[in-house]
Amino acid sequence: MGKTLAEKILGVKSGNDAIASDIVISQVDLVFIQDTTGPLAIRQLRESGLKKLAIPERTAVFIDHAVPSPTHALSNDHLVLRRFAAEAGAVMSDIGEGVCHQLVAESLARPGDVIVASDSHTVTAGGLGAFATGMGSSDVAVAMGLGRTWFRVPESINITVTGKFQKTVSAKDFILHLIGRVGADGATYKALEFGGDGIKDMSMSGRFTVANMAVEAGAKVGLFPADDVARDYLVEQGRVEDYQPVFPDVDAVYERTMQVDLGALEPTVARPHTVDNVVPARELKGTRIQQVFIGTCTNGRLEDLEIAARILKGKKHHPDTRLLIAPASRRGFLDSLEKGYIQTLAEAGATFLPAGCGPCLGLHQGVLGDGEACLSTSNRNFKGRMGNPKAFVYLGSPATAAATALAGEITDPREVM
């Protein structure tokens, strides 16, 4: 009987047959923590009695959520993390390097890896064919100490993608559309596995956007096969040796299959306060927006800033709409500088934030006022998400964000391109 991507990877890493619904103990190839969940993980690790890191060279500590630190309490948390990394011999990524998931994608994730971390958007690395998933601090603490964790092998939902995106429609619109169809809990405990000719039209940047939001449908992982697009990406990152082909069997057994024609998609927006509350952007024309945010592990990459720069070139953002931009990584920031996108966006009136999570989780930087609405390229629009339960968050693509920044109201980017 054929195997899904999830079954194949967990089979190799557990040394068992690993069929959907089996409980397996799997090797962990990369484990990481970040500044809002890491201090608790370190505490739990000490409490567990596990003395040292199982794979220190593949254990990473990221300071990305509160950068630079806005309060002394968080500064003290950062001290705990830096001290831990130095003492335990872990890889340290300090402020300004970027969001953990983007840095993992650029430098650490390998096709076929099992990756766990104390952040729900760890699923991002599924874009490269890694079984990557978020867990709490206790699970991650034990994974750091043992180099192993347990999983229930998930059933997989096959998403067969066909066609090509229309102009200004991108991977963000695809995943918002899909979450709208599946529902915010439609894939709970399951793997979303993407295949079909249409994924050839999805860049690695787009695949990371899609995998990143798999968790917003409740999924444990969002997996792409490690095909030529993945190989080319690793070559570009200077680490071709990390490539191995990872594909599902042609006769893999899926719980169900869904079809998506990329050509039929249009710019899509998720309305407050749930990610599955989606509509075409054009239907929200007239919705005033006080802040646009472009960034995060979902949409803060070079390709995302490029489309925003194309739309905003030679123009200014609407006077009643603030425009905030946080590149997902320092490398992406430097590449955008070199290509002139930062100049273009700054001339359009954008306020730049350090590479990191920015205002996404409501901790600092661009907290919304009462009754204000933000159109964000991030992944969550829960009540209170951007720091104020009396504010409203809409989710859209970088193209929709840029068009909205120009018009001051939610705008289908096809209107301005």
Partner: protein, 164 residues
């Protein structure tokens, strides 16, 4: 046997409802953090909840972030168990890892304020206020073993490894 009052919540209570990111600076000061548990969903919850009380919710409880602080502050409030129609994956694992039972059952018949009695070994909930008796889905065997030790960290402290 667990016994306490039901605090009823609806569908889709997120980790931001339970403990939002704006309190991230309190995550190493748990007593202060716990004062804000479920504040955005019910601002009176923290002042009314008593040791042993139960959270009764609809679908997809705990969706969102991996922050273990979410089940942690619920446990610190004295909640003895969470009853929900369904629960998000990471939250479920986190709650069990902290020794906080999450029980899946049809919660529609339970009203806010009802007196509940939960028999964990029999798998039943008795609503003393309306006489209704419910059964909840079995917690997976591997999670029961972790729960029986009071959570994952005590489990690892005792066994030194996964003995699942």
């Amino acid at each position: 046997m667990l016994r306490g009052k039901a605090f009823k919540f609806g569908d889709g209570i997120s980790t931001d409802d339970i403990i939002p990111g704006r309190y991230a600076h309190l995550r190493s000061n748990l007593d202060e953090l716990a004062k804000h548990v479920l504040e955005d969903a019910d601002s009176t919850f923290v002042s009314r909840v008593k040791e042993g009380d139960l959270i009764v919710a609809g679908n997809n409880f705990g969706l969102g972030s991996s922050r273990e602080h979410a089940p942690l502050v619920i446990k610190m409030a004295g909640v003895s168990a969470i009853l929900a129609k369904s629960v998000a994956r990471i939250f479920f694992r986190n709650a069990i890892n902290l020794g906080l039972p999450v029980l899946i059952c049809d919660t529609d018949g339970i009203n806010d304020g009802d007196e509940l009695e939960v028999d964990l070994s029999a798998g039943t909930v008795r609503d003393i206020s309306n006489g209704q008796k419910l059964t909840f889905g079995k917690i997976p065997e591997v999670m029961l073993r972790i729960l029986d030790e009071g959570g994952l960290i005590p489990y690892i402290k005792k066994h030194g490894d996964f003995k699942l």
